[in-house]
């Protein structure tokens, strides 16, 4: 009963948030100067009044703003995100076409970070104030302080241009590879540089977060209790320090997971990765309202969804949450 209540409450809240985001974005995007009809007409190399009027009426751009909003919201409820103005295709289709690429990139960077970040952070914390710790923290701080696009460019310069080991852009070889296995390997090869670029930053964040969180936890009284019980140091570190120290990391990871869809614009640009971020970026400049709104909606849904996942994980990891009155 309690679980059900939680779920219903969460769903209502999520719905309200997503609705509010959609409305805000709808209005914001239309505040922008620039007329999608002119962009489209410009691209078509034909901009007489008749053509402009036709485009505007095709996409309902000639109606009052609130009417447009109402129509949009009504369509969204039936999972119809409309047509992309520029591409004249269903926005839903375009999103789902690009989604796997983005999730592959951000997901692998994310997993990479989730594995190595807390691991290295824990090592740094346990070796706090030693050479290992300092070295790790300097490296982490470096990647934390480095613009992602710059890391990407340098990696391309070194590993693609100079050494020629890895492909510098794209998700697949331009010359198609035959066979499922070969194709998979090919994608993996393309994935390495962008995923590492993105992953290094994420790792740096998690290393710092884990270390700080563990050092903070280590000062708590019950850690002293654990030592007083005569537990070996590794047990104290894992079962008592890390376990609690992971709570803020889970929170952060959940927050970040929601932002995976739009989080890689820069990397997708540098590595010509065919993902959602890049789609959103182009859509913005073409004033492709529906497409852009679609990206925002998808991303808001992801955020809200992962917020719930995080909530659940935290409830599992920390029995105090949810039972507090």
């Amino acid at each position: 009963m309690r679980q059900l209540g939680f779920l219903v409450g969460w769903l209502v809240k999520a719905l309200v948030v997503v609705l509010a985001i959609t409305i805000l974005n709808f209005l914001l995007i239309r505040l922008a100067p620039g007329d999608p009809a002119i962009v489209m007409a410009g691209e078509a190399g034909a901009a007489d009044e008749r053509f402009l009027a036709q485009i505007r009426s095709d996409f309902g751009l000639d109606r009052p703003l609130l009417v447009q909003l109402g129509i949009y919201l009504k369509n969204v409820l039936t999972l119809d995100l409309g047509q992309s103005y520029r591409n004249q295709r269903a926005v839903v289709d375009m999103l789902f076409e690009r989604l796997p690429a983005t999730l592959l990139l951000t997901g692998s960077a994310y997993l990479f970070a989730l594995v190595f970040g807390p691991l290295l952070g824990a090592i740094a914390a346990m070796k706090a104030r030693t050479v290992y710790d300092s070295a790790l923290m300097v490296v982490a701080l470096f990647f934390y302080a480095t613009p992602i696009f710059w890391v990407g460019l340098l990696l391309i310069l070194v590993f693609s241009v100079q050494l020629g080991w890895l492909p510098p852009f794209g998700m697949q070889s331009l010359i198609p590879v035959e066979g499922t296995l070969a194709r998979t390997l090919d994608i993996l090869r393309h994935l390495i540089l962008p995923a590492v670029t993105l992953g290094l930053f994420y790792v740096a964040v998690y290393v710092r977060l884990t270390r700080a969180s563990m050092l903070e936890t280590a000062t708590l009284d019950y850690v002293k209790t654990a030592r007083a019980k005569g537990l070996p140091e590794w047990r104290v570190a894992t079962a008592h320090i890390l376990r609690t120290a992971l709570l803020p990391i889970i929170t952060f990871a959940g927050l970040q997971a929601g932002h995976l869809v739009g989080g890689a614009i820069v990397v997708e640009t540098v590595f010509a990765w065919p993902g959602i971020g890049r789609l959103a970026f182009d859509a913005l400049f073409q004033r492709d309202y529906n497409l852009l709104l679609g990206v925002f909606l998808l991303s808001a849904l992801m955020v809200v969804f992962f917020n719930m996942v995080t909530d659940i994980l935290l409830r599992v990891a920390d029995p105090r949450i949810g039972s507090r009155a």
Partner: protein, 530 residues
Amino acid sequence: MRPQRTINRWATGLAAAAVALAVSGAAAQAEPQRGGTLNSTLWPEPPGIVIGINLNAPTLLPSTKIFEGLLTYDFQLNPQPMLAESWEVSEDGLTYTFNLRDDVTWHDGEPFTSQDVVYTLTEFIPEVHARSRPTFARAKVEAPDDHTVVLTLEEPYGPLIRSFDAIGAPIVPEHVYAGSDIRENPVNRSPIGTGPFKFSEWKSGEYIHLVRNDDYYLDGRPYLDEIYYRFIPDSASRALALETGQVQLATQNDIELVDLGRLEAMPHLEVTTKGWEWGAPISWLEMNHRREPFGDVRFRKAVMYALDHAFIRDNIFFGYAKVPTGPIHSSSPFYTDDVVTYEHDPDKARALLDEMGLTPDGDGVRAEIGLLGLPYGELWDRLSQYIKQALGEVGVEVTLEASDVAGWGSRIANWDVDMSTTYLTTLSDPALGVARSYITDNQKKGVLFTNTAGYSNPEVDRLFAEAASEPNHEKRLEMYHEVQKIIADEVALAWLAELQWPTVHDAKLKNVVRNGLGPNDNFAEAYFEQ
């Protein structure tokens, strides 16, 4: 005549090119060979690949391999046969008769007939093809038999004979489109044409894949097995792909001009600037005559004197440009260089500004103006920065205004701007591609590609109007020369550069640029040397 113009990378024009061009080397080449995959860059990803429904530059490259016109055109823009084996224009210039090939089938196996042509010219184009709509509105189209099409005009119209290429009039299958909502027809995502290549797959964000049309009507052609148009958003990546041989073809703006020197030096690559004769693009600095001080011709002249056109050509366009003298492209038969020219002379510029009473203030600033640069990437940013710097030297302080394409278009169309940079295809007949930027009638607020600068001179209006309806070529020449003199003297626009678009291709790839359509040819003849 409706004004037509593009802010995009390319548009068609319909006048004969006067530039003397070397004869295509096709005849001198060895025997072409079958086989091979061509990888070409394509950027940005096109919104669709049916010409007419979309006319964006990236639509045209793959689409011209799928769809064909009745005719095609050589470097001198002389008509050549394609779907029409032969054609005839009556003495009075009012009747055009086309004899169609009888061995052509659509990609779905249906036979190609004159009904397809009639449908295309009377239904498809008027409905969707914004650019050709006015041209074919002049003609009555009939099909006396399955392989003959007759167009009848009410008065002569010179440019018509150059309107039948795959871009201006792509022939589409009647049996697929008739009775449907053309724009919503699902076939638009996997189009059916008559060309040497068939649509195979479009992988969003990655590539468009075309495969050989084994039933193509020309024996043994096409030579290539398949073509991939790959979307590579980053120009450095595109250059790298050419270098490493991962792609064999790139054109227009695909490659940053700065990279061309390096690529040209590579033994496995060739670079040519031929094949874009129709576009005849000119870049200019547009000043809003409605605002001060741009209404004063002395200010506009001062701007021309302040700019070092040679520097722009060499350092911004890296030599892939020519210095323009006026509104008409130097490749046009109507071009004259007998006009006022503006050598780089900052002192003259300052003198003109002094004369206007724009004297420097304490900081040496005579005037403050904004510049809305074309948001097409780094090259155009640099151009804006150069203009800012050059005008700054004569005391005109320029504030750069950033914008995305949408904002840029809106502001220019609505005359809400001081100065802006742009480039436009001037097309091959001044009546089509030039007049629109200068005649008073074409000041249409809210519509881009019109006389947005606000230039107005009744004499110029008169000359353009008379030249358009003048049947005598010599008389037209005279009038256009006169127009160029006036416009250049009044600096209606501050022309910056005639662009020279390069096509970079693998040296083994032959017959890439073999006529006036350049990379927008159907590639039936293109092949890889083994």
